[in-house]
C-alpha cells in the first residue's frame, strides 16, 4: 500500500491525452489541493471541481494516512528511491555485460570465419591446380563437379563447428536460381539459407571483396521466427573461377544464456535489496518515530491534565535526551501548575477567612450603629448627624465588602452556577416590584414588554435577579425621571432582557468601560448614588458564568440600553440575541441627526438606518416606542458628536454590519456642536 497515497491522484488527469494535458493535470491537482480549504483562487470550472471531489472521496482515508504517518512516507520514499537506483544499476550492468559478450563473440567469430575463408580458398586453389592439368573436361560435368565440391566444402567447413556455427554457401550475382544444381544454396545443418541471409548483405557482398558481418536471425524455414546470430560473409571463387558467397552464421545462444543468467541474478538481487532497504528504513524510522509518537501521546495526556505522565527514558542517545528534556518540562509544568492551584486555593481560603474575619466586627459595628441611630433624637444635633452618617456609611461599607467578596469569588473561580429552568418573567416582575419604591421617588414609570409568553431558560435565578436588579436600578437612577422599558424576548436558543432608559446615555467608548471595576464616567464628580462601582462588573461575571452576554449601548443624551442574553440551555453557546443591542428608537434608527433633524432631508442614511426586524416574537409595541414623554432630540444641549457603534463586542458588529453606513449618513451634526455638550453628559454613570 505504500506509495499509493499520492500517485493515484496524479493519474486522474492521465487519460486526457491532448496537448494541454499537462496543464490540465496541473490545474486538476491544484484544484484538488485547494478543495479542503474551500479557497480555490484559480478559475476552476465547478463541474470539474465536482468531478475532482467525487474522485477524491474514496481516496481520502488513504491520503489522510499518508499525511499523518511519517513512517509510511519514509518507507514508501525509500522503496521508490531504492527501486529507481536498482533499476538504473540493472540497466547499466546488463548493458555492459551485453556489450562485452557481443564484442568477445565478434572477435571469436571473425577469426573463425577468416580461417574458414582461407581454407575455402586453399581448397579451391588445390582443385583448380589439379584440374588445370586435365584440360577441358566438358562443361556439364564441370558444373556438376563444382556443385559437389561446394557441398563438400560446406560440409567440411561446418564439421569443425559442431553446432556452434553454421556455414552457408550462396551463388554470387543475386537471383541466379536457374543453376540450382551447381550454384544452388547450400547450408550446413537444416537451416534455410535463402531466408537466413539478409538480402542487402548479399547485394553488398557482390560489390565488395572483403568480409562483411551483420546481425541476422537464423531461420530453419520461411515461417520460422529465427534465432539471433552474427553473419560473416565473403565473396569467394570456386575452382571453376566463378564467384560464390560463403557465410558463417554464429548463433547467440550461449551469449543469450549468459545474459539471461545475469539478468536473473540482478533481478533477484534487486528485489532483495529493495525489500531489505524498505525493511531497514521501516526499522530505522521506527526507532525514531516510536519515541516521537510516545512523546506526542504523552503531551496530549499532559494537555488533558494528567500531569504525572512521563516518558520512558532508556540509554543516553538523542532520543533519551529528548525524553529527559520532555520529562523535565513536564515536571516543571506540574510544579508550576500545582503552585498556581495552591495559590488559587490559598486565595479562595483567604477570601473565605477575610469574609469571616471582617464580617463579625462589621456585624457588631452595624448593630451598634443602628442602636445609636435609633436613639439619635436624644442627642445634640452634631452627634445626631454623626450617628446618621455612621449608619449610612456602615451600610455602604457592607455592600462594598459584599461586592468585593463576590468579585474575588469570581476571580478565584469559586463561583458555581446553580441552573434550573427559570421563567425570566417572574424574575423581571420581582425585580421591577423591588425597584418600584425607588422609581416612585424618581418619578420614573417602569414598563415591561414582551412578557406575553413564558421566557424560560436554564439559569441561576439568584444571579439573574441580581443582574437585572442592577440594570433596572441603574436605569432608574440615570434615567432622569423618564420611563424605563424592560423588554423580554426569546428566539432560537437564546433569551434576552433589555433595559432601556432615556437618560444621560453613554459617551462613545463608554459602552465597554461601564463594565470595568470601579469605573466612573467622571472621576472628579462626587458620587450621589450609593453604588459600589462593582455592580456591573459582578453582573458581567454572572452573565459569563451562564455562558451569556451582558452588553451596553448608549448615545449621549439619548439614553442607553443594557442587554442580557442567556442561552436557553445552560452550557450552550450563544449565536445571537433576540433583541438588537441598539434599540429601534435610537436616534439613528429614527433617522435623526444629533440635532433632531430628520436625515431624510439629506436623502441618505434614512433607508440604511432601518434596523432589521428583531427575530424575537414581539417587537416593542408602538406605544412604547413612542414612550419618551419628552422629545429627547429637542432637548437643549443634546447635540453632540455622532454616536459610534458602541465599541461593543464583535458579534454585534457581525450581527448588523449595515449600521456603519447609517452612522456615516448621520454625520451631519458636525464637529461644531461638540462644544455644545452640556454638563449633562458629564454626569456620572458610575455603576
Amino acid at each position: 500500500m505504500s506509495g499509493n497515497g499520492a500517485a493515484p491522484e496524479r493519474g486522474v488527469g492521465r487519460p486526457v491525452d491532448t496537448a494541454g494535458g499537462i496543464s490540465l493535470l496541473r490545474r486538476l491537482w491544484r484544484a484538488a489541493r485547494q478543495l479542503p480549504d474551500g479557497a480555490a483562487s484559480g478559475p476552476v470550472h465547478p463541474v470539474l471541481r465536482l468531478y475532482v471531489r467525487w474522485v477524491r472521496r474514496p481516496l481520502l482515508p488513504a491520503m489522510r494516512l499518508w499525511r499523518r504517518n511519517i513512517q509510511l512516507r519514509v518507507v514508501a520514499t525509500t522503496l521508490l528511491m531504492s527501486l529507481g537506483v536498482v533499476l538504473l544499476l540493472g540497466v547499466v550492468v546488463i548493458g555492459q555485460v551485453r556489450n562485452g559478450l557481443l564484442e568477445a563473440k565478434r572477435h571469436a567469430s571473425q577469426s573463425q570465419a577468416e580461417g574458414g575463408f582461407k581454407a575455402a580458398r586453399d581448397a579451391a586453389d588445390t582443385v583448380s591446380d589439379s584440374r588445370g592439368g586435365g584440360g577441358q573436361d566438358g562443361s556439364q560435368s564441370g558444373g556438376r563437379d563444382t556443385g559437389a565440391w561446394l557441398t563438400g566444402l560446406v560440409q567440411q567447413l561446418a564439421s569443425g563447428g559442431q553446432g556452434v556455427y553454421h556455414v552457408v554457401a550462396l551463388s554470387s550475382g543475386g537471383g541466379d536460381t536457374s543453376a540450382v544444381g551447381a550454384r544452388g544454396p547450400r547450408a550446413s545443418g537444416d537451416l534455410d539459407p535463402e531466408h537466413s541471409i539478409p538480402v542487402d548483405l548479399r547485394k553488398q557482398l557482390d560489390l565488395k571483396t572483403g568480409a562483411l558481418e551483420r546481425s541476422a536471425s537464423i531461420k530453419h524455414s520461411a515461417a520460422d521466427e529465427g534465432e539471433p546470430a552474427l553473419v560473416v560473409g565473403k565473396r569467394m571463387y570456386g575452382p571453376d573461377g566463378k564467384a560464390y558467397q560463403l557465410y558463417y552464421l554464429f548463433p547467440y545462444t550461449q551469449e543469450e544464456k549468459s545474459l539471461k543468467l545475469v539478468k536473473g541474478t540482478l533481478l533477484t538481487a534487486g528485489v532483495f535489496v529493495v525489500v531489505l532497504l524498505g525493511a531497514i528504513a521501516w526499522l530505522v524510522v521506527r526507532q525514531i518515530v516510536t519515541p516521537v509518537r510516545m512523546a506526542a501521546s504523552i503531551s496530549e495526556r499532559l494537555a488533558a491534565g494528567v500531569l504525572q505522565e512521563r516518558m520512558k527514558v532508556t540509554g543516553e542517545d538523542d532520543i533519551a535526551r529528548l525524553g529527559e528534556a520532555f520529562n523535565k518540562m513536564a515536571q516543571n509544568l506540574q510544579v508550576k501548575i500545582q503552585q498556581l492551584e495552591q495559590l488559587s486555593r490559598m486565595q479562595r481560603r483567604f477570601v473565605s477567612d477575610v469574609s469571616h474575619e471582617l464580617r463579625t466586627p462589621l456585624t457588631t459595628v452595624r448593630m451598634a450603629a443602628e442602636v445609636i441611630h435609633e436613639a439619635r433624637e436624644d442627642f445634640d444635633p452634631v452627634t445626631a448627624r454623626s450617628a446618621e452618617l455612621l449608619y449610612g456609611q456602615v451600610d455602604r461599607f457592607e455592600s462594598l465588602l459584599a461586592d468585593l467578596l463576590e468579585i474575588s469569588r469570581f476571580d478565584a473561580g469559586a463561583a458555581a452556577l446553580e441552573a434550573e429552568p427559570v421563567d425570566l418573567r417572574d424574575v423581571v416582575h420581582r425585580v421591577v416590584d423591588g425597584a418600584l419604591p425607588l422609581a416612585e421617588r424618581k418619578g420614573t414609570k417602569l414598563i415591561v414588554t414582551g412578557g406575553e409568553q413564558p421566557v424560560v431558560a436554564e439559569a441561576d435565578s439568584r444571579r439573574v435577579e441580581r443582574v437585572l436588579r442592577n440594570l433596572v436600578v441603574n436605569a432608574v437612577e440615570h434615567g432622569e425621571g423618564r420611563d424605563v422599558v424592560v423588554r423580554l424576548a426569546a428566539a432560537g436558543g437564546a433569551v434576552a432582557v433589555a433595559v432601556r432608559d432615556y437618560g444621560v446615555g453613554l459617551k462613545p467608548g463608554e459602552a465597554t468601560r461601564v463594565f470595568n471595576r470601579f469605573w466612573r464616567a467622571d472621576p472628579a464628580r462626587a458620587r450621589t448614588t450609593g453604588g459600589t462601582g462593582l455592580g456591573l462588573s459582578i453582573a458581567v461575571e454572572d452573565a459569563r458564568l451562564h455562558g451569556g452576554w451582558l452588553q451596553a449601548w448608549g448615545e449621549p443624551g439619548g439614553g442607553s440600553q443594557f442587554r442580557l442574553t442567556l442561552p436557553r440551555t445552560a452550557g450552550d453557546t450563544l449565536r445571537g440575541s433576540p433583541i438588537p443591542l441598539e434599540p429601534d428608537d435610537s436616534r439613528r434608527n429614527r433617522g435623526m441627526n444629533e440635532a433632531g433633524v430628520p436625515l431624510a432631508v439629506s436623502g441618505r442614511g434614512g433607508a440604511t438606518a432601518v434596523p432589521p426586524a428583531p427575530p424575537g416574537p414581539s417587537p416593542v409595541p408602538a406605544q412604547t416606542r413612542a414612550t419618551p414623554t419628552v422629545d429627547l432630540t429637542a432637548l437643549p444641549g443634546s447635540g453632540a458628536r455622532v454616536v459610534p457603534r458602541p465599541g461593543g463586542t464583535p458579534f454585534d458588529k457581525a450581527e448588523r454590519p449595515e449600521k456603519a453606513s447609517g452612522a456615516a449618513g448621520s454625520e451631519t451634526g458636525g464637529e461644531g456642536r461638540t462644544e455644545a455638550r452640556t454638563e449633562r453628559e458629564g454626569q456620572a454613570r458610575g455603576r
Binding site: 473565605s352 469574609s355 469571616h356 464580617r359 463579625t360 466586627p361 462589621l362 456585624t363 457588631t364 459595628v365 452595624r366 448593630m367 451598634a368 443602628e370 442602636v371 457592607e398 469569588r409 469559586a414 458555581a416 446553580e418 434550573e420 429552568p421 420581582r430 439568584r462
Partner: protein, 225 residues
C-alpha cells in the same frame, strides 16, 4: 411571650451587642462562648431559641447544632459569615431551622427570631391527614398507624402548611413566607434542605416520596390522602 435566647458566640463584642439588642426587644439572652460548653449551657438555660455561630473554638457550630438537635426540637438560628452554598447547606442539614448571614441588620435578626418563636402561640385544635399520616395540630403530634413520629417545630409547621391545602402546589417562595415568615424572597435552599429532612422522617421511602411530592419546576404539594 417566652423569650429566652441562648447566644453561642465566641466574639465577645458581638455577643454583648446581641445582648443589648435582644434585651431591647424584650428577650432574655444568656451567653456561652465555647463550643464544648454549649450543650451544658443549653441544658441549664432551657432556651426557647438558640442563636448559634458556626465558627466556634472547641466544637464547631455544626457539631453543637447536631448535639442540641439530638435532644431537643428547639428552634436554632445559625449565624454565619459564609454565604457559600456548601456552608449553608451543611449547617441546615445539621439541624438548624434558619440562618442569617453576617453582617445582618438587628431588625432582620429580631424578625427571624420572632418568626421562629411565633408558633408557640396556642393554635386552634385541628386534625389533618396527609397520606397515611394523622396530624394533631394543637397536640403537635404526627402519627402513622398510631406510631408517633418526632418532628422539630419547623418540620411540623412545614408539614401542616402542606396538609392544610392539599390541593395547592406551594412554590418555595410561598413556603418561605408561610413557614419561615420571610416577607421578601430569600434563599430557597432553606426549603429544599428542610423538605429533605422532613421526608427522611415521614416518608416510607424517601427516594420515592408520597407525602411531600415535588412538582417539577414549581414546588411541593401534599401527597394524595
Amino acid at each position: 411571650m417566652k423569650g429566652r435566647v441562648l447566644v453561642v458566640d465566641d466574639d465577645t463584642a458581638l455577643a454583648e451587642m446581641l445582648g443589648i439588642v435582644l434585651r431591647g426587644e424584650g428577650f432574655e439572652p444568656s451567653f456561652v462562648a465555647d463550643g464544648d460548653k454549649a450543650l451544658a449551657a443549653f441544658r441549664e438555660a432551657k432556651p426557647d431559641l438558640v442563636l448559634l455561630d458556626l465558627m466556634l473554638p472547641g466544637r464547631d457550630g455544626i457539631e453543637v447544632c447536631r448535639l442540641i438537635r439530638a435532644e431537643s426540637g428547639v428552634p436554632i438560628v445559625m449565624l454565619t459569615a459564609k454565604s457559600d452554598t456548601v456552608d449553608v447547606v451543611v449547617g441546615l442539614e445539621s439541624g438548624a431551622d434558619d440562618y442569617i448571614i453576617k453582617p445582618f441588620k438587628p431588625k432582620e435578626l429580631v424578625a427571624r427570631i420572632r418568626a421562629r418563636l411565633r408558633r408557640s402561640e396556642e393554635p386552634a385544635p385541628e386534625q389533618l391527614t396527609i397520606g397515611d399520616l394523622v396530624i394533631d395540630v394543637a397536640g403537635h403530634s404526627v402519627k402513622r398507624e398510631g406510631q408517633s413520629i418526632a418532628l422539630t417545630p419547623l418540620e411540623f409547621d412545614l408539614l401542616v402548611a402542606l396538609a392544610r391545602k392539599p390541593w395547592q402546589v406551594f412554590t418555595r417562595e410561598v413556603l418561605l413566607e408561610q413557614v419561615w415568615g420571610y416577607r421578601h424572597a430569600a434563599d430557597t435552599r432553606l426549603v429544599n434542605v428542610h423538605v429533605q429532612r422532613l421526608r427522611s422522617k415521614v416518608e416510607k421511602d424517601p427516594e420515592r416520596p408520597e407525602i411531600v411530592v415535588t412538582v417539577r419546576g414549581v414546588g411541593y404539594k401534599a401527597g394524595p390522602s
